[in-house]
């Protein structure tokens, strides 16, 4: 009795291991894999469900992460159909590998804004007021898109900031300000809008000079991928994106 029981247990373990390792893709219908910058989470979730409604049987799988992580994944062979990046440079990395099936086109813009604690206790009203050494400012590190935008903005506005910390993500900048650890931070308008319950936004006059462009491109050729990119870059896409604070390049 013992031996069969043991081998059953062993094969059960083996089966568990094997099924655990296999990826579980949805069986029925077509799946469209959309890789999008983390900042696009809200508008792309809306657009994806609209797309599913108008294309019965199609399921849109959204993969949100930092643009450069996504680019690395796509270059490593991840099955992306559409890629929407938070900056043209990252899109270029994918394009340089010859992995784009369509030219990239800009579908949205984003600008930086100052975020401060609720009620703006220090009365911060401009980029200049952040240069005061008594104000502790948190920026994104120059290596990440929001940080390089902050550098461009400082140059354009001829202001030099001494950050107390250079975070690797927008979330961390907002977190440091909303928790009161820092007095102010620079993030995108859309991030400030998403966090409006915990921080206040102060617009920057020079913001347009460090405008961030969001390109989208088809990675694996296909009608669905092209249609989805068209939806995002079209009239409807613009409406949804602007509701979340994104700008329109044609403005």
């Amino acid at each position: 009795m013992r031996r069969p029981l043991r081998s059953t247990a062993v094969s059960a373990v083996v089966v568990l291991l094997l099924t655990g390792c296999g990826s579980s893709a949805p069986a029925a219908g077509k799946t469209l894999n959309v890789y999008a910058a983390a900042s696009l989470q809200a508008p792309f979730s809306d657009l994806a469900s609209e797309f599913e409604d108008s294309n019965p049987g199609v399921s849109v799988q959204l993969n949100f992460a930092g643009s450069s992580d996504l680019a690395t994944q796509i270059i490593a062979g991840a099955p992306a159909d559409v890629f929407a990046s938070a900056n043209p440079a990252t899109m270029e990395r994918v394009s340089d590998e010859g992995l784009l099936a369509s030219p990239a086109r800009v579908f949205a813009t984003n600008v930086l804004t100052i975020v401060v604690g609720e009620g703006n206790p220090l009365g911060i009203d401009s980029l200049d007021s952040l240069a005061d050494p008594a104000v502790s400012v948190v920026l994104c590190a120059p290596q990440v898109p929001c940080g390089s935008a902050a550098e461009t903005l400082q140059q354009a506005a001829a202001v030099s900031l001494n950050p107390v910390s250079e975070e690797s993500s927008v979330t961390d900048v907002v977190g440091k300000v909303s928790s009161g650890q820092a007095d102010a931070g620079l993030v995108y308008v859309t991030d400030a809008k998403a966090a409006e319950d915990s921080v206040d936004a102060v617009p920057i006059n020079e913001a347009k000079q460090a405008e961030n462009l969001y390109p989208i491109a088809v990675v694996r050729p296909g009608n669905l991928a092209t249609e989805f990119a068209d939806l995002v870059a079209g009239e409807r896409g613009r409406d949804v994106l602007s509701a979340y604070g994104f700008g329109d390049q044609k403005q």
Binding site: V10, G66, S68, T72, S136, V138, A141, Q143, V144, P163, V164, S165, E166, E167, S168, D172, G175, K176, S179, G180, Q181, A182
Partner: protein, 265 residues
């Protein structure tokens, strides 16, 4: 080595080999991915050396704090009995299983500017926000349980025979502690300290959440690796290998100490 009977069935060896492979293969993958031609240049850049030095310095400070706080804590847990001891032990070991980012949030609401102690610290003129002190606090928080756990184990294994004898010979508790107990578990303390050092060195989540990230001040090696990954994957891999090398040295050291401990009569 006894060749006649190894004491384990053969299939167990096969599974053990799979387990070992699972742990070793990713490390081999890092070594294979290293861009050796640029390795020296990548790990000696300003930002890399600043991060490595900061990591070594903060981890060493955290280890000292762990020994100062952890040794008494381990003694209290192993050698005394008090109400709520079991609950306290569970709570003390909690940072072992908590995701580090949770530790960071907890520290933020304790020592942060608007935290539990923030106001009192501000009155004292102490502001640890975005300072190296914040890094040390984060590292100590996650590393302390390692020292307590390993020393408490050593204390229980050692027993209280010698202490009892010393006490009956008229030694006062402090004398017994300093002259008998501490020398007896010395290797246990060192091994625990080495483990704490290793844990502090690898600390990432709590530091990122609580201390921030600025070159030379709060950006330790793991944070530097995380940031480099954004733009220079080769640099991130090279620095990862440095961290792996340091970790290997530390683990080997701890192992030697424990083996030496076991060989003692």
């Amino acid at each position: 080595m006894n060749a006649a009977y190894s004491g384990v069935p053969r299939w167990l060896i096969a599974v053990a080999a799979a387990g070992a492979l699972f742990l070793v293969l990713p490390l081999a993958a890092i070594v294979l991915r290293v861009e050796w031609l640029r390795f020296g240049e990548l790990i000696t850049s300003d930002s890399s050396t600043a991060a490595l030095l900061l990591s070594l310095q903060t981890s060493a400070t955290s280890t000292v704090l762990c020994v100062l706080l952890g040794v008494p804590l381990a003694f209290a847990l192993a050698r005394t009995r008090f109400w709520g001891q079991r609950v306290l032990r569970a709570l003390v070991l909690l940072p072992l299983v908590l995701p580090p980012v949770v530790g960071g949030i907890a520290l933020l609401y304790t020592f942060g500017r608007q935290g539990l102690l923030g106001e009192s610290l501000r009155i004292l003129g102490v502001d640890i926000a975005f300072s190296t002190t914040a890094v040390v606090l984060a590292q100590t928080f996650v590393a302390l349980p390692f020292l307590v756990l390993s020393l408490e184990g050593a204390l229980r294994t050692a027993g209280t025979r010698y202490e009892t004898v010393a006490a009956t010979l008229g030694a006062r508790p402090t004398t017994v502690l300093l002259r008998v107990s501490l020398p007896l578990v010395g290797p246990g303390i060192v091994a625990g300290a080495v483990l704490s050092f290793a844990r502090a060195l690898g600390e990432f989540g709590a530091t990122l959440t609580f201390a921030g990230s600025l070159q030379g001040v709060t950006r330790t090696l793991p944070l530097e690796i995380y940031l480099q990954r954004e733009t220079d994957a080769d640099a991130a891999v090279a620095l990862s290998l440095v961290l792996v090398a340091v970790a290997v040295i530390v683990v080997a050291l701890a192992h030697r100490i424990q083996e030496g401990d076991a060989r003692e009569p």
